[in-house]
Amino acid sequence: MRLKPILAVLAALTASPALADWAETVEVARGQTVYWNAWGGDERTNAFIAWVGEQTQAQYGVSVEHVRLTDTAEAVTRVVSERAAGQDDNGSVDLIWINGPNFLAMKEQDLLFGPFVQDLPNIRHVDMSENTPATLDFTVPVEGMESPWRLARFVFIHDSARVETPPADMAAFVDWAASHPGRFTHPDPSNFMGATFLKQALIELAPDPYALLKPVSDMTFEAQTAPLWAWYDALRPNMWRAGQTFPENESIQQQLLNDGEIDIAMSFDPASAAANIAKGLLPESARVFVPVGGTIGNISFVAIPYNAANAEGAQVVANFLLDPAVQARMQNIEVMGSFSVLDPDLLDAEARAAFDALPSAPALPTLAELGSTLPEPHPSWMTRLTEEWAKRYTR
């Protein structure tokens, strides 16, 4: 055992500095258990995380414990209470599946470890040039503090057996709901999916969508959201349960679709309709649709808290998630069906072939069908939007 550090030093002397650092990280990581705090509401993601743990255990001696969250903010709270208690090392959270406001909160409070992303060998498969999706999280510069792992695109799901022509754009939802009262709803805006629905509408309805990319101010908020609230006030009375109650999250909403209580659900995963049909959780006739102007897209990341007990193991896991074979498995509709974050142009022929060979499904949209990707507004918009929504509609 004593030899290993010496070997690591030797490796450091012979290889390039970055690779040497990585070899050392891998060495230190061996034997660590990474507590990966990740939303646990999706069984296929849970199974994928379990598989990742088996693989990293076999390949790097790093095991993964999936801490299942109902809300990512739970993990943020945990790190905050640890800081409150002065526990600045040996923290209980090693890796968090994170993005958007949670990332901003942790970054602003200096609760993150890093920058570490540029040291991950597999990051070379990701397009990291300036202002690309992987470098901006809800317009906030990532600066190497979180590593991408899966792609998210906002889509609607409808039951094609009940709905022949879904609304063509966000504005059309008002008429559709008026002719189908009680058959549409969105998750509670305190949940990110509900907030995303509002943001999607905001981008389409705002007089100047570019204003949304900058931090919000009282003046821009009022001017940009006025059409949104008019639209929402027209939509809400015809929503499920008269817009008085909202499903807690997208999964509950999808369950309502399966139960036949509503006709339209939404997801941040274009493959989720196909995946859930395969799982027996949606009727065979469920299909994906997107508004004509395109939909919001973002990337899910993993970040490491500043006091993580197993930061090296966490980096090994983050790097493993970017392995082309792992990303291809992730995109496989029979496994998880989540779109890859890798850039096809940065892959070798073998890796590209693995992606091309992936199976398809009738409910799985092609990239062309998904249309254009709209950028996330600055996180401050989401916070203001949900606050204002609560003020207006929580009585």
């Binding site: 507590y35 705090n37 646990g40 509401g41 999706d42 069984e43 849970n46 199974a47 379990a50 801490v67 299942r68 969250l69 109902t70 809300d71 903010a73 739970e74 943020v76 709270t77 945990r78 905050v80 209470s81 640890e82 800081r83 409150a84 208690a85 002065g86 526990q87 209980s92 959270v93 406001p101 949670n102 909160a105 009680g182 058959r183 509670d188 349960r241 008085q244 109650t245 909202f246 807690e248 999250n249 999964s251 509950i252 999808q254 369950q255 309502l256 399966n258 139960d259 036949g260 209580e261 799982k279 027996g280 959780l281 009727p283 916070t383 609560a390 003020k391 509609y393 929580t394 009585r395």
Partner: protein, 578 residues
């Protein structure tokens, strides 16, 4: 005879030592942490939380809480659902007892109640949500009769009035109150009172209300307060069955505690304190109501009316109880059916296709959660049982009954809202380095398991025929030998029953496990609540079934083990050691 004096004196000092040890344990393990937790919460509520950059006393947290959208409605909802569920549960339990007492044996009653006591709140709520929803089992059964082609536009769960939540709480609380009332009745000469009352020309129902209820009330006052405190601060049931916009106060607080904006912890702490105040006020209301009823009752009793009219009302309450029990049973059944389903859509009454897949992948989590749950239940129950036996034996040896403050001490963890001190305690635990471990969870669960074990064991322990112990002493057995060789075997049935209750309480713990385990200690309950926010009722069904099966197995063992061990001891088999 002269020699006998020595061991008796030794017993006395021995008793004091044991009592002191137990008291110190309880004070250090129970009172101190709760107080410390509240202190931390109070500091945060007053704006002091240096770790996130707040260190000046201010009223801002309180102001932020009060001005939060929907705060007033959330408060009203909490009061209405909490008080409503408690009052209705007490009324239904008393009514059902009045009608069924003497019509049904205590043992048969106990066996009937067991599944409902064993089913954890979260599992019950998940099942009820499926049963009652506009697309649920009841609506599906009606659909072909009434001709629904789509789920009706009913608002039967998550209704803005909290009716579904009240019903859910009642399904769980009525069995508990029935058990408590039945146990209280066993200490009263009910038959004689009834005979005397009826010979004076009073109807059965009126005798119950005028004579028996006033005697039962002091014996069930504390359990009713437990139900009240629980109903006012319940989280898991309110998440699943309660309204969502706004939710009840406890759910609102949980949302604030877990909001991405870390500063929300301060108003959340203020809310946690407010919840404690709310519970305190409701206790005052209960005691005030008690006084008022005493006055009115005395006047009513003296008036001497012989009305027979109470009987229909009591029957109505009994029918309501039966209805709720039916709902509860169907809810649990629906979870079992879901766990074997594959595709099950509206309007099918049964799954369109069946599958064992949800059960066949224990590796995905349920095996581990089951193991954690069993481990925690065993540890907390053993710990609580040991402490309870030590406490009761200490009382025996010191030959002293229990003081009122000691009784209150036992009940303390059940009377204060969990969220009020758990968050502060979390911070405290981290400070002393006891983080997110199984040990922390064992301790936190024991806080709530110990009172129930103690309550379950106290009456049978005191009812034990003292002559058994005396006979053993006269044969030369010392205090420890009397305990191990005479008392514990004679009390095997109540001890195992207390243990089963302990297991049920431990399995059902949600917030303590979540907070103290830092989310790392996954149990069937934490997983079931997490999964209830997912769309997969089939997996939820597996967890909820296991969650209910575990305490049920414990109760079954508590019935079976004495039956086998005492198969040739008829008096012990009766389950009545006196």
């Amino acid at each position: 005879m002269g020699q006998a004096l020595h061991p008796v004196r030794a017993t006395l000092t021995d008793g004091w030592a044991l009592r002191a040890a137990v008291l110190v344990t309880v004070a250090l393990g129970l009172v101190l942490p709760i107080a410390a937790g509240f202190w931390q919460t109070a500091r945060a509520a007053a704006g002091v939380m240096p770790a996130i950059g707040f260190d000046a006393l201010s009223l801002d947290p309180l102001r932020a809480l009060v001005t939060a959208p929907g705060f007033g409605t959330a408060l009203r909802l909490t009061v209405v659902t909490g008080l409503g569920a408690t009052l209705l549960s007490v009324a239904v339990a008393v009514g059902a007892c009045a009608v069924l007492h003497n019509r049904m044996g205590a043992r048969a009653g106990g066996r009937l109640l067991t599944p409902f006591l064993a089913a954890p709140h979260a599992a019950m709520a998940i099942g009820l949500a499926f049963l009652l929803a506009p697309s649920g089992w009841i609506a599906r059964a009606l659909a072909p009769l009434v001709g629904f082609d789509r789920p009706p536009l009913w608002i039967t769960v998550n209704d803005p009035f909290g009716l579904a939540l009240i019903a859910g709480l009642m399904v769980k609380e009525i069995p508990f109150l029935l058990l408590v009332i039945l146990s209280a009745l066993s200490q009263l000469p009910v038959r004689q009172h009834l005979a005397a009352g009826r010979s004076l020309g009073y109807g059965r129902g009126i005798v119950w209300i005028k004579i028996i209820l006033p005697q039962v009330w002091p014996l069930i006052r504390l359990p009713v307060m437990v139900v009240l405190a629980f109903s006012l601060s319940v989280v898991d049931m309110a998440l699943i069955l309660g309204p969502s916009n706004p939710p009840t106060l406890s759910v609102l607080l949980l949302r604030l505690f877990t909001a991405p904006d870390i500063g929300q912890m301060l108003p959340a702490s203020a809310g946690a304190l407010l919840q404690a105040v709310l519970v305190g006020l409701s206790f005052l209301l209960l005691l005030g109501g008690e006084r008022l009823c005493r006055r009115i009752g005395r006047w009513w009793v003296r008036r001497g009316g012989r009305g027979h009219s109470a009987e229909p009302g009591l029957w109505a309450l009994t029918v309501l109880a039966a209805l709720l029990f039916g709902l509860g049973a169907l809810a649990m059944l629906s979870l079992v059916v879901w766990s074997f389903a594959w595709r099950w859509t509206w309007p099918d009454l049964l799954p369109g296709s069946w599958s064992l897949r949800a059960w066949m992948s224990p590796g995905n989590g349920w095996a581990k959660a089951l193991w954690n749950t069993v481990l925690l239940a065993a540890a907390t129950t053993a710990l609580s049982l040991a402490l309870a036996i030590a406490w009761l034996e200490g009382e025996d040896r010191a030959r002293r009954g229990r003081a009122g403050w000691a009784e209150a001490l036992i009940y303390l963890p059940l009377l204060v809202p969990q969220i009020g001190f758990l968050f502060g305690l979390n911070v405290l635990f981290l400070t002393i380095g006891l983080t997110g471990g199984t040990l922390a969870v064992i301790w936190a669960q024991a806080l709530f398991v110990f009172p129930y074990v103690m309550i379950a064991l106290s009456d049978p322990w005191r009812a034990l025929d003292p002559r058994l112990s005396r006979a053993a002493a006269s044969l030369g057995a010392g205090p420890w030998r009397r305990l191990v060789a005479v008392k514990l075997p004679a009390l095997l049935t109540p001890i195992l029953t207390a243990a089963a209750i302990g297991v049920a309480v431990s399995v059902a713990q949600y917030l303590p496990t979540l907070f103290m385990g830092a989310g790392r200690v996954a149990t069937l309950t934490t997983e079931a609540v997490t999964l209830s926010s997912s769309s997969d009722r089939r997996v939820t069904g597996v967890y909820a079934t296991l969650q209910a099966a575990l305490p049920f197995a414990a109760y079954a063992l508590a019935l079976l083990v004495p039956a086998v061990l005492h198969r040739n001891r008829r008096a012990l088999l009766a389950g009545d050691p006196s």
